[in-house]
Structure formats: structure tokens, C-alpha cells
Symmetry: C2
Amino acid sequence: MVNFADRMSRIKASDIRELLKLTAQPHIISFAGGLPAPELFPVADIKAAMDAVLNEQGQVALQYGQTEGWAPLRKQIAERMAAKNAIHTDPDNIILTAGSQQGLDFCGKLFLNPGDVVVLESPSYLGAINALNAYQPNFVEVPTDDNGMIMEELDKILSTTENVKLIYVIPDFQNPSGRTWPLERRKQFMEIIKKHGIPAIEDNPYGDLRFKGEYQPALKSLDTEGLIIYMGTFSKILAPGFRVGWTCASEEIVGKLNLIAQGAVLQTSTITAMVISKYLEMFDVDKHVEKIREVYKHRCQLMIQTMKETFPPEAKFTDPDGGLFTWVELPPHVNTRDLAAKALEKGVAFVPGDGFYPSGETKCCMRLNYSCMPDERIVEGIKRLAEVIKEAL
Amino acid sequence: MVNFADRMSRIKASDIRELLKLTAQPHIISFAGGLPAPELFPVADIKAAMDAVLNEQGQVALQYGQTEGWAPLRKQIAERMAAKNAIHTDPDNIILTAGSQQGLDFCGKLFLNPGDVVVLESPSYLGAINALNAYQPNFVEVPTDDNGMIMEELDKILSTTENVKLIYVIPDFQNPSGRTWPLERRKQFMEIIKKHGIPAIEDNPYGDLRFKGEYQPALKSLDTEGLIIYMGTFSKILAPGFRVGWTCASEEIVGKLNLIAQGAVLQTSTITAMVISKYLEMFDVDKHVEKIREVYKHRCQLMIQTMKETFPPEAKFTDPDGGLFTWVELPPHVNTRDLAAKALEKGVAFVPGDGFYPSGETKCCMRLNYSCMPDERIVEGIKRLAEVIKEAL
């Protein structure tokens, strides 16, 4: 028996992981996970980019590189953020990370003493809660409505809570709720964090995947104080298997994230960053993203339409403008963890909602992913799920 | 001005990093860094493996995968550890990490509360000190001689020090000293840690790179109690640009490392692990390692011979049996940080030794890397360094 650190008492095996293992079985219709549609991966183009990298700069690609990551890719990211998100930044304000997940871990390390407070949307991304949890913070949840975080509640919390070190938000097609903040809320948010001087992570993995409604500017594009730590990733617009994401922040913060990265991993992979850089140079990624959007739009609408036709009226669900998820709220007496077990018996998987609340107290919700199942399985899966829900009511 | 976590006061910008940036200039003869020889990278073979992966399993390679890493590669690693290191383990006792560096970070997270004690060789690997330092331990250094850690001193320290949570050692061709522990010390070490019940990281990035002397068994192969956390990497036998390493430990420890990895990065890259797995399947990595060994043996002997011919007698240095480094000790009044600045003026770079001591108090040593410079630059660089040393004496 060896002794572990105190933080390990908070880091527990997730029963969702066991559930996700079951969903790997081919007969299961899985609305769990958040996998991009693999049939859309541009495998041939990526192969062409890889071959070009190894032909032209093989020794560089296989060698150690800089902690902050492959400079040409950081430049391309800066250009893309300017074009797509109106974020104007120097490439040196960007550090590559292993997916944006690693940026979350590094931010926990950078900001959090045990007992410090992290403020986030209720519900929020399970993986962010897990990443930050290792640094032993207290989480304070801000109530949300159909337009995302309620800003009056945020202001109240920041005015009355001590030791708030970090805010974590997903303003676009939030995971898990699928909700998007309108412009007015974004402006209010920026005013409020400026007033309180609290840095905020803007996690934006899905921003490019808008398939209806109006474009909303990134918080980072409204940031005059260097308080926004913006995270992006190639996982949802290209391929998650590379594990290439990035964090863009003020010089001071990026400098410290670099030091953290050096100790934690030395650097991210040279070759994967170079392959993505070469892909962006050789091919039109926007055309590729357009294809993804069309498919996800169709699948989302099919899922929502089938839910409207088959779910009982007690089930409320969001109708997202983009991203990967819709969020279902059932009456409070329904425990979706029990429901998940029953659904699995009928060959359908989803993620129960309680993991998306740090408190774990709200047990009547579920997250449904529509991005990686074909039409007929979406329809069949939702129908079966409707039956399970009706039985539970 | 935002507020950072307390740990950040310990995580400082390294002036060695500035030095390493300068060494990127082509006219500099660099004995700094620990880069493998890039001309030995099997670029064509790796390209063939990559093409095979994308042709055969492109969608899998680009998708999310398991946190513990690509199962076929973990199986190949288990088989290779059995064949090369007499370590017999189940593949499920292995987790893939981004280089072994990430395993160090995860172990810091797993074991260390602020103020806990980490025991290590004096000197020890700078990068391990940096990785663990983020978890705010106290470091206790065990004196070493030409045969590595002095076991009587280790036993004394473990008997008289409270809150020792972790030991960190590199028994083969240590970084920075190039020293290797003989069998007797290894046996003593295992007895001592068993007696005290303290887990130990055996970091073995260089084990395959023995070019003279007798093979010594891995500590892990002598471990009857599950106390050894063994770390390996493909960085030195294949290519560091992939960032693929692994940690092998008891079921309990690997299970917890998996939970940590899930929060910190979700998983390492699917595609890089699959490419290495395919490379091991398609090609004879041992033949490739044999080539590396020959080149490093030659370069090491050339460096040592030139040092014998040109260094003043006050300079003591190790004659390694493998790995990448030799270690030079000068009289205590010489400050090698000043020496590094003077050497750089003459176009030669090395890493001053103080960073390899957590206390930073020993300032008269330097680490020299021989793996990535061609013959004529090794000879010329050592000659110039000899002049700088003589001036300083």
C-alpha cells in the first residue's frame, strides 16, 4: 500500500467510462461520447500532407521542437482566428496543446490553489470539471437559461464570493446543453469580468460548426484587458486523433503556460503539428468544414424532429444552432442514470447529466450526441429512448 | 494583473532555455540539449508505416481512442520489455504517455502533496526536477559516486526523513552523469525501498543504447512488491517528434495514472501510437538501434579521447557505457554558468550543471552531449572548451 496525494480522493473512476466501453460494441446505437463522424475525415488529403512533410522535412518532423509548438502552424492559427473569429493576435500569444483538454489542465496548474473558486455554467463540460478538479478548487455554478449563462447571477456570485480565480465558459453550442450566448450576454460578460478582474477561459471547440442562426463574436474578440484565455482545437474540424489544440492568451499568461508545458511534457508532437500545418497549406479546410456542417445539420434536425414526434411532452430539449449535442431535461423525479441502464438494455447509449454538474445534484438530464450515427440509427435510437422515457414517467 | 497559484513562484523561466535558443544557430557547436542524431531517423521506413496505417485504418487513426493508449502498441511494448529488460508484465499495466516526461508529471500529481519529499540522485535529470517541482515537494539529494547512488546514504535518508512519497532514479547511463549502477547496488536499492515501502520511478530512456560494458537488469525486473514505476520512451530509439513514451506499474498505480491522464489530456495521439506500432511490425527496430549504438559509441569515444588529450588534469569526467551524456566536474571555485557564457563566445554550447541539483548549490559541473554532432565538430568543440576551462582555472 503506497500513499497517494490528497487530491486523489477527488479523482474517482467514472462509471460513465464503463458505459462508454459498452458503447464500443457495434450493435449499440450510441448518442454518448462526442465523436466526430469518422467517415468525414479527409484521410487521403491527410495522407498527402503527411507524405509531403516526411519528404520535405522528415528529420525536423521527427526531432524535438519548441515547447510552444511549430511556429508556422501558430501563424496559420492566428490568421484563421483573425478571419473567422475577429481575434487579432500575435502567433507568440499562442501555445499548442494536446487537444484543448491539455490547456484546461495547464490553466488549473497556473491559477488554482486548493480551495480557490472556479465559476462555471450549470451544467458545464464534464472534461473541464475533471481537468480542474485535480487542483482541488471549489466549483460555483452559475444558473443558465435558453440563452446560456445568466449574467446577473454571474455578477452576484463574483460580488459575493471570495477567492474566485478562474471562470470557465463555452459560449458557442455549449457542451452539454447545445446553447449559444447572444451578443448582449457576451458584452455583459466582458463588462462583468473586467469589473471584477477575473480571467476566463473561453472554450470554443465547436464555433466553426454553426449550421443555423447568426454568427456571434468570440469573447476574445471583445477582450480589451487580456482576461480571456481562448482555447481552440482541430479535433472537431479535422481529426481528434492528432491531439492538436491551442490556447491563445495574454503574453503574461502564455509565457507561464509555456513554463508549465515545459515541465509537464517538454512539447507537443512535432510531426502532428507539421502535418496539420501542411494540410492547411495544401487544402481548403473551410470547404471541408462546410461538408461537416451539412452532415451535422441534417443529423441534428433529424434527431430533433424524431424527438418532437416521439418524446412525451414532459421531456424538454434544446434545439442547437451548431456543435454536437442536444440536452434533454426530464421531470426532477427521473434519475437518468437508471434510465441509461435501461436504455442500454434496449441497445441505446447516452451520457446521464449529473456528471456535468460539479455538485452532481441534478439527476434528471441527459446529453445526446448526433454527430456520429447514420440516419436510420438516429431515428431508431430516439424511438427506443422515447419508450424508455415514457416507462420512467 | 491576475493572480496565479502559489506553485507558480517555483516555476521560473530557465536561463538554460535562452542558451538553448542560441544553440539553434548553425555556427554553434552544441553539446547542450539531448537531441538524438537526426540523420539516423528511419524517415523512409516511418513513411511506409504511416502510409500503411492511413491506408488500412485511417478512420481509426484519426479518431479518439482509449486513454491508456493503442492496445496493440502496449502489447508490443510488453513483449519488448520482456525480451530486452526481463520485465514480465501485462499490457494493461502499461499506459502510453507523451514522452516519458508526461509520466513524470502524472506521478507528481499522483503522489505529491506540497511539502512531501522526493528523494533523487545528486545530480539528477533537470526535466524530472522541473516536472515534479510543480507539485511543491521538498527534494532530498542522495550522494553518488562513480557507480551511481550510494545505497547506505539512501537507507540513512529514508530512515531519518519524514513524508518521503517518491524516489526518482535513472540507473542506466544517467542524465546528466552518464553513470550506471552495478547489479549489487540495484539489489540493495530494491531491499531498501522494500524495507521502507516507498515507490520509485525507474526512468530508462537510454537503456537500449549500451555500447560497452555488461548489461544490467532493470530494477523493475527485480521488483517483487509493485513498488517500481518503470518509464520508457521511443524518443531515443526511434524519434522524439512523436512524443510517445510509456509508464509500466502496478495495477493500482496504472489505474490511477489512467484517471489522471483522462482529466489532463483525455488520451495521447491515436495516430502516432499506431504508426509506431506499425513500424515495429514492419521493420526490425533492433537493427535500427544497433546503428544508433555504433554511431553514439564512436562519438562518445571521440569526445572522451579528445577531452583526455586537451582538458587540464583538474577536469574530471565520466566515461559512459551508453546513453547520450558525459559529465565534467571542475574545481569548486569554477562557476560553469560563467564558463558557458565564455564558451558561447567561442561558438560552443553546453548545459551548466547547477540545474541538475535541486539545491542549485553545486556550480562547478557541466553536462556534455555527444549524440548529435559530427566528428570534426566534436573535436573542434572540445578543443575550444579546453581553452575556456584552462583560462578559468
